[in-house]
């Protein structure tokens, strides 16, 4: 087999290693070569563990030579957002406070990927404590967008978006509490899967908001994401909030056609205030979905601004509660922006917080009633493509706060409703920046989103485009 292995999709490389067309060492070295080339430009990795990765790859190759295939990810090198505990490893959570924190347990999601045979490349950068939407990090430096290194990656899974886009890892775990998987997927031109809240165990994942946190992957393709979600989903005694529902075969959904499916397009909110190029990409995506056999219908959604407000109340309160001890003992060790966001939660009365939680059921019921008859809703992930790091730096730009509010506008309502949302690369701007669209589904209907997303990727090539190193 010829070509650069690191450019292949997760599913393709896993099959190639299993078939001994590439060794795990060749594949791992290919990723390390690209990391050496790209890391100085994009700052996507928190830690690069080249020697350990190559040793693990050699062990995987030796096992395969003896006929022992550990699982569907046998010998596949991966790196993840640096908030998934891995026993014996430093897990910084993007923070100064946890710069030397060594995990004593391994997160369930990560363990399940290890059990399937994956090899650890290192860890990926992130926004401090996953509390920010742009990718800025005062402690470790901003992560940069491989399509234009002056632009943001989106956050908080900034390293995950950047590393997958530059093909430094075949996939990466992210987390999504207010949009932290979908925004980097959109800004960096990769596929990102925010799963239904409760589908994947959060045991051993750094908490931000227990009501809203979700685990999910970023990868090249919908098929890659389907494979990873299938491996990670399901009951976990370490996380009693995780679903006990049977885990569907998501990979089986990757071949379905769109004939007979109805996809809703919101009449308001998600189509308002769009940059012209995002509006164009939305229109083109709708055309493609229709050409592939889907019926497109308009949907009138309940007031999404109320959902955004409720999400902010829940998120701010829960984040402040998690961080209260350090806010008292080590306020100087937080970045200014993150501390400011955390302080917001101190001023929300308990009754207001509980009202926001109590309203979640009726709000979800109202949303589901509005989308009755549809299989998914399509909407932009953000109203604009990636902005520059400078113009979204709250410390340096007067307009930055407004920019940040606009970035998160279309993601937070979905977190409040706890629904799955699949972000897919759907086009590019004239200046070469990616634009993503999100497919929003019903709770635990990840398979339905996989079916639609995979069909779209069979009809398009945006997910296959790779940024060039200057």
């Amino acid at each position: 087999m010829s070509g650069e292995p690191a450019l292949m999709s997760l599913v393709s490389i896993a099959k190639a290693i299993a078939a001994k067309k590439f060794s795990s060492r060749e594949v791992t070295q290919s990723c390390l070569d690209r990391i050496a080339q790209w890391q100085p430009r994009v700052n996507a990795f928190m830690a690069i563990e080249a020697d350990a990765a190559l040793a693990a790859a050699d062990a995987a190759d030796a096992a395969l030579a003896k006929g022992r295939n550990q699982g569907v990810l046998h010998g596949v090198p991966l790196a993840h957002k640096d908030m998934y505990y891995d026993a014996g490893k430093v897990v910084t959570c993007g923070s100064k406070i946890r710069r030397d924190f060594v995990a004593t347990t391994t997160s369930t999601a990560l363990q399940r990927l290890k059990d399937a045979g994956s090899v650890r490349l290192g860890s990926l950068q992130m926004v401090e404590f996953a509390y920010g939407p742009t990718g800025h990090n005062v402690h470790y430096g901003a992560v940069r967008n491989p399509w234009n290194v002056d632009c943001i990656t989106g956050g908080s899974s900034s390293g995950s978006g950047s590393a997958v886009a530059a093909r430094l890892t075949f996939a990466a775990l992210g987390s999504d509490t207010g949009g932290s998987i979908r925004m980097p997927a959109h800004f960096c031109g990769v596929t990102g899967f925010k799963t239904t809240v409760g589908l994947i165990s959060r045991a051993g994942a750094m908490p931000l908001s227990q009501s809203l946190d979700t685990v999910g992957p970023l990868a090249q393709t919908v098929e890659d994401c389907a494979l990873l979600v299938g491996l990670m989903a399901g009951a976990d005694p370490e996380d009693p909030t995780a679903s006990t529902l049977p885990v569907p075969n998501y990979m089986a959904a990757t071949t379905g056609s769109l004939k007979g499916l109805k996809i809703g397009v919101p009449t308001a909110f998600y189509v308002d205030d769009l940059d012209s190029e995002v509006a164009r990409v939305l229109d083109e995506t709708i055309v493609t979905l229709r050409q592939e056999g889907a019926e497109i219908v308009k949907v009138e959604l309940p007031d999404q601004r109320q959902l955004t407000a409720a999400c902010q109340i829940v998120l701010a309160t829960e984040a402040a509660a998690f961080h209260k001890r350090w806010m008292i003992e080590r306020p100087q060790d937080y970045g200014a922006q993150v501390l400011m966001r955390l302080q917001n939660g101190l001023a929300i009365p308990g009754v207001t917080y509980l009202e926001a939680l109590r309203w979640r059921g009726p709000a979800l019921a109202a949303y589901l009633a509005a989308v009755t008859g549809t299989d998914a809703v399509i909407a932009p992930v953000a109203p604009m493509p990636a902005v520059t790091i400078a113009e979204s730096d709250v410390g340096n730009s007067r307009d930055a706060e407004a920019v940040i509010q606009r970035i998160t506008k279309f993601t937070r309502p979905i977190n409040y409703l706890g629904l799955p949302s699949l972000s897919i690369p759907a086009g590019f701007t004239k200046s070469g920046l990616p634009v993503g669209m999100q497919l929003i589904g019903r709770a635990f209907d990840e398979a339905g989103l996989v079916r639609i997303g995979a069909a779209f990727q069979r009809a398009s090539d945006y997910h296959q485009r790779v940024p060039k190193a200057a």
């Binding site: 101190l346 939680l357 059921g361 706890g418 209907d445």
Partner: protein, 65 residues
Amino acid sequence: MTRPDPKQVKAMTEVAGVPAEKEVAERIANSIGPAFDGFAPVAGTLPMDLEPASFLLVQRAKVSK
């Protein structure tokens, strides 16, 4: 429901055990004000018998259909 003003925010941070300076309280009041405004149509309107767990009922009921 009305958004808290800086004085109220300052008092709440003191009660919470993480007291904020006057300038910080002003910044917090400005920052969280829109969330209070956005949630105002819902606040105070929910029926007594509604528990947070109703979310799970709605979420999982739809799966079975």
